[in-house]
Every structure is written in C-alpha cells, then in structure tokens.
C-alpha cells in the first residue's frame, strides 16, 4: 500500500466519537453515562493536538479509544484514511498498536520492576519483529536510550527501574514507545507526576521527537500553559464535549467559548491579582453528568449567556477563524 503522508493530511481522523459507560450495580439502579459525545478531531504528522479541560471531561476516554482499550459506542476512527476496525481485522491489535503508542502519567507503574531497562525496550522490538540478531538488538536499544537522553546508554541499559528517577523512568517509557516506530504517540498527562524541575526536559524531548521524527502527538494535560508550549493545536473539553479547538494561540489568547474563557481566567499567573471574581465568568452550578438522552449545551447551567435554545439542542460547530472552531450558539 502506498499512501503519502503529507503534513496537511491527517494521519488519524476521529469523527463523531461517542462512548457510553454503564454505571451502577443492580438492573434497577443502572444508568448510562455518556463520557464522550460527538467528538471529532484530526492528528497530523509532526504536530501535536493538546486536549485540555476539567477532570472527568473525557480526555483520557478519547485516547483510550485510539489505543484500543475501549471501543467507541458510535462514530469512526480512520488511520491514513482506512477505518481502524478494518486495520485491526487485517493486522490484529498488535499490528495497529505498532502505529499508535501510549505514554502514561505514572512512570512508576508502567515499567516492570523485575526487568532491567535493556529488556523493557528490547521486548517490544522483538514482539513487533522490528529487529533480528543479538548485536543489532543491543545496538538499537542503546540508540533508543540515547535518543531519549539517557546517556551513557550502556550503563542505563543495565539498571533496574528502581535505580532511576521519575524523569528517567518516563524517558524509558518514551524510548519503549519509540521502539516500535509509531506514527502516533498518545501522551496522557506524561509530566504531571514528575518533579517540576524535570518536566520541561520531558516536554522538550517530546518536542524534538515531534519535529525530528514527524510523530503525531496527542497531549492530554490539565496545564494549559504547557499545552500552548508543546502543541500546535489545542482542544478544550467539557463534560464529554469538545467545546472549542484550533490553533493553540487562537484558543488560549482569544478564547471564544464561555467555558474556555472561565478556564483561562482561572489559570494562575505570577504577578497578577490573587483574587479574581470568578462570578463574572460563571453561575455556580454542579457539573452535570451527561446521558444519552441529555440535550443542549453541557455548559448551559453555568453559562452567563445561556438562552432557552441552549438547553434544548447541542449547538453546531462554528468556524470563527481560519483554524478556530467553537460549539456555542453565541457564534452560530
């Protein structure tokens, strides 16, 4: 198969993804919650899409669909134009996983404590049949360790995970993801558990991988400043919905959706006033649980601009600038 991967054709496209979870034990108490509702996005080679938004808004759920942990309830994902389920039917789960790799929040839990670093990276190389022969394997492992800045590589390869710091372990996790030469890396809060002094090093490493290896990144974070630092594009989620997305500067410097405006007003900024009146951005109301039968805009109860239609029908997507989209009646 010959498919061109130009920077302007998406490598992954998700269209109208929804994911329902069933909650509660007994038949009578059972309810269905919609963790993701009609979410669409594209990932481009050599570019990052940051996903920001409140806790529980569905950021990880989207990534878990791409990494085959969950199956979407509805909607479609295509990889280089081909439906994900077809690719999995042809090449199996592992075949698809060699294109899309995941990096998790917890660098402590994601490495097997009983194996040396060499093994942790050699294993995926062997499983995915990337390399033959002992010497070639060792060379490739050392090369990967060098790529992620774990030098001297030979020394690191002989260590056990407990002998490494959190940041070093996260670099091993990145090297392991790189081993299978993925086109896409899904990074779910990859720096939030690391020391503040080493977070930037990991972000810079991911920046280099994106620029030099042309890898497409999905970067999930609570930290909007790092989203803007790392990602060309940013998407904002609220209660299972993607409410605003586009060029990171447009979204962070010129937020349009009332929830994005609230979120940005809350971001701490050294030197600014320590008390801001958040009531100019929201009504106090509980964050709703979205259900398949829920209607309207998920932010309606907290929104200062809500009109009657906001609680009856989900607003459509409006393009407000070249690469800037929003789901809100104020712009329809």
């Amino acid at each position: 198969m010959t498919v061109t991967t130009e920077a302007n054709t998406p490598i992954v496209s998700a269209r109208e993804l929804s994911k329902d979870f069933t909650l509660g034990g007994s038949m009578l108490e059972r309810t269905t919650m919609r963790a993701l509702n009609a979410v669409s996005f594209d990932l481009f080679p050599g570019q990052a899409l940051a996903i920001v938004g409140e806790s529980g808004s569905g950021k990880s759920t989207g990534a878990r669909i791409l990494s085959q942990v969950h199956e979407a309830t509805s909607g479609e994902v295509t990889f280089r134009g081909q439906p994900m389920h077809e690719l999995i039917a042809q090449g199996g789960k592992r075949g698809f996983a060699s294109h899309v790799q995941m990096i998790f929040q917890d660098p402590f839990g994601s490495l097997n404590p009983v194996h040396r670093i060499f093994y942790q990276i050699a294993r995926p190389l062997q499983l995915h049949g990337k390399i033959r022969g002992k010497t070639a394997l060792r060379e490739r492992v050392l090369e990967l360790l060098e790529t992620v800045g774990l030098t001297p590589a030979a020394e690191t390869a002989d260590k056990f995970p407990y002998e490494l710091s959190g940041g070093q372990r996260q670099r091993v996790a990145i090297a392991r993801a790189l081993a299978v030469e993925p086109d896409v890396i899904l990074a779910d809060e990859p720096i939030s558990m690391l020391d503040v002094s080493i977070r930037l090093g990991i972000l810079n490493l991911m920046l280099d991988l994106k620029d030099q290896h042309g890898i497409a990144f999905m970067y999930i974070t609570h930290d909007i400043a790092t989203a803007r630092y790392f990602a060309e594009r940013t998407a904002v989620m609220y209660v299972g919905h993607m409410v605003e997305w586009g060029n990171s500067d447009a979204v962070t410097q010129n937020p349009q959706h009332p929830y994005t405006q609230l979120l940005l007003a809350a971001v701490p900024q050294p030197g600014s006033q320590n008390s801001r009146d958040m009531s100019q951005y929201q009504h106090k109301a509980d964050i709703p649980m979205w259900q398949p039968e829920s209607t309207g805009c998920p932010f309606a109860e907290r929104c200062l601009h809500a009109s009657p239609q906001c609680s009856t029908q989900l607003p459509k997507v409006t393009q407000v600038a070249e690469d800037h989209f929003v789901r809100c009646y104020l712009y329809e």
């Binding site: 503040v196 080493i198 930037l200 090093g201 810079n204 500067d249 962070t252 050294p270």
Partner: protein, 336 residues
C-alpha cells in the same frame, strides 16, 4: 488557663508571628541519616502569606510538620529553634502543645481531602475539633460548624454528608473549614489544591483570601506550583535538598532571582500569555540526600558551578533588606 500562655508578655517583640532559626530535621533510616530540613531560618509575619516552593523531596512537608511538632519518628528535630510569638515551641509540654495546635496554628496536610474519615459525617468531623478545644454545648458547636461550611462556600446541609458524597473540591473546602474552626493565627497549607482542577483551585483560593481579609491570619503556603505561588504569596522561599536557597518578596524572586536553581525553576514554567519560545529549565536529576556532596548541593546541576562550590557550603547572604540567596556567585559579584 493554658490559653493565657499565648498572651505575649508586654515587652516581647511580636513583629514576627513565627520565627524558625537554624532548624535541622533528620530522618534516621537503615540506609543512613537523611537531613531533610537543613539549617533553615525564616520568619512569618502576622497577616502575610509566605510561599515555600521546591521539587519533590526537598523537605517542604517535613518543615511543615515540624513547625507544629506533628513530625513523627523516624523524623527528629536535631537542631534549631522555633518561636511562636516569642514562645519556644520546642520546649512546650503536651498540654500547651495541644492548645498551640488548632487554636494558634492549624495544618492542612498534603492530600488531606483524601484523609477525611469515610464513615463519619462532615459535621461530626468538624464539631469533634471544636468540642476538643472549646467548652461549649454540642448544639452550639454544630451551629458553628454550619457557619464554617458557609464561609467556605458550602451549603450548611452538607454537615450531614459523608466524604464520599462530595467532590474533591468540596472535600478540600471541608478540610479548610476544619483548619479555620478555632480561628488560628497561622494556617500551614501543604499543597492544598494540587489534585484539583484550575477552576476549582481558583474558587477555593478566592474564598481563602476573602477569609484571610476577614480574619487576618497568616498562611504558610507550600507548593511546587510556582505560577500559583507567584500570584498568591507576599514572600517566597525556595528550597533545594533540605536547604533554603533563596528568600525574598514574590516580586524579587520572580523578577530578580539570584540562585541558579531559582532561575532554572522559573524558566521551567511556560507562561500562558508570554512569548512562545523554547525554554531550558534545569538539567540533571534531583539530589539523592544519601549522596549529598561537599559544598553546594546544587553543583551537579549548575551550569555556573566554579571551584569554591565543590568545597564550601554557600551561606545565605543579603541581596537587599528583604532578599537573600545562598550561592557563591553572590560573593563573586560583590567582590568583583
């Protein structure tokens, strides 16, 4: 009454609420002794917020515990002095200490919102604290509890809720309400909002500062989030590997950081509105205290390290009357 122990004698200097002098706290473990707080001196004034920042393991929580003498074995205060309104905290007897905690100084511990007792209602947890320190009827304590919940932005009916029925932000508000219950003059907050969303964090900080304006307490605010610190603190202390390496007003520390670690730390935080450019932060990895070197503890990660750094421990020296840092470069600059 034990409470009277806290009425300062007329001739006592009360310009400082709390003064820590040369405090050292050690952990004794089979692998060796670790000095988690190493010769730290600082003062907290009435009504001010002092922020304490630094990476994981630098000793922030250990310092917070030892101020209220809540540290437990294997931690040991091996040297130094802690004075609260002129009184020697380290020599307080059990009874005085009990009055001192909660009444004078309360602590919101790291991840306290997850340590509320799951089988007891919020109301009972609040009135337990009040009844343990005040001779009042439980009916009145309950009413005070309801008022406390309202001051932190929760409905009084939440007194009957169990912790699991509340969101993380609501639980954190309960913890703050408990810390405020006896109107202390100093609240030590160890990463009070780290696990929360920025919007919830903002709401809680706003409420806290309204309460602070109303009651006038001081806050020792511990966090690794320098951005938040730069916004809420009057003064900031930066710790590295157990030592206080820089102390100054928030403005001084942010706009004229002197210590290379502080400079690196500030450069590690991308800004939300500033220019989008590559930042470099700090090279290397945090120091393992069991392998602490001679001289400056930051030497292995410092791009400006020079010969005295390998042999001599840099002492705090003055940059201005409100600003100090512990780095050999300061002496170089003044002499050269």
């Amino acid at each position: 009454m034990a409470l009277q122990a806290f009425q300062p004698a007329p001739d006592e200097d009360t310009s400082e609420l709390l003064e820590i002098k040369n405090l050292c706290v050690d952990y004794v473990s089979p692998k060796g002794m670790v000095r988690a707080v190493n010769n730290v001196s600082l003062k907290i004034r009435p009504g001010e917020t002092l922020g304490l920042a630094g990476e994981s393991g630098c000793g922030k929580s250990t310092l917070a515990f030892s101020i209220s003498r809540l540290h437990k074995a294997p931690a040991l205060i091996s040297e130094g002095e802690i004075r609260y309104r002129g009184r020697d905290v380290l020599s307080m007897n059990k009874r005085t200490l009990r009055q001192f905690r909660w009444n004078e100084v309360s602590v919101v511990f790291q991840s306290a919102m997850n340590s509320l007792n799951p089988v007891i209602t919020v109301g009972e947890q609040i009135i337990d604290v009040i009844l343990a320190h005040r001779k009042i009827k439980s009916k009145d304590a309950w009413r005070q509890g309801e008022e406390l919940l309202q001051t932190v932005g929760l409905h009084a009916s939440r007194m009957d809720s169990f912790p699991h029925q509340l969101s993380g932000g609501m639980r954190q508000r309960v913890v703050i309400a408990i810390a405020l219950a006896l109107r202390p003059r100093l609240i030590i907050m160890d990463e009070p909002t780290t696990a929360l969303d920025v919007v919830v964090e903002r709401e809680i900080m706003d409420e806290l500062y309204q309460l602070k304006d109303k009651f006038g307490f001081s806050i020792l605010f511990i966090s690794h989030d320098l951005s938040l610190m730069g916004e809420i603190a009057d003064r900031i202390g930066i710790m590295y590997a157990g030592k206080l390496v820089e102390l100054g007003t928030a403005d001084e520390v942010f706009t004229r950081p002197q210590h290379p670690y502080t400079q690196g730390l500030i450069n590690s935080f991308p800004t939300i509105h500033g220019p989008r450019e590559r930042l470099y932060g700090i090279a290397g990895n945090p120091l393992n205290l069991l392998e602490a070197p001679e001289g400056c503890y930051f030497q292995d990660r410092c791009a400006q390290c020079f010969s005295p750094c390998r042999t001599h421990d840099p002492k705090m020296s003055e940059v201005s009357s409100t600003h100090q840092a512990a780095c050999h470069l300061l002496a170089e600059r003044t002499s050269g």
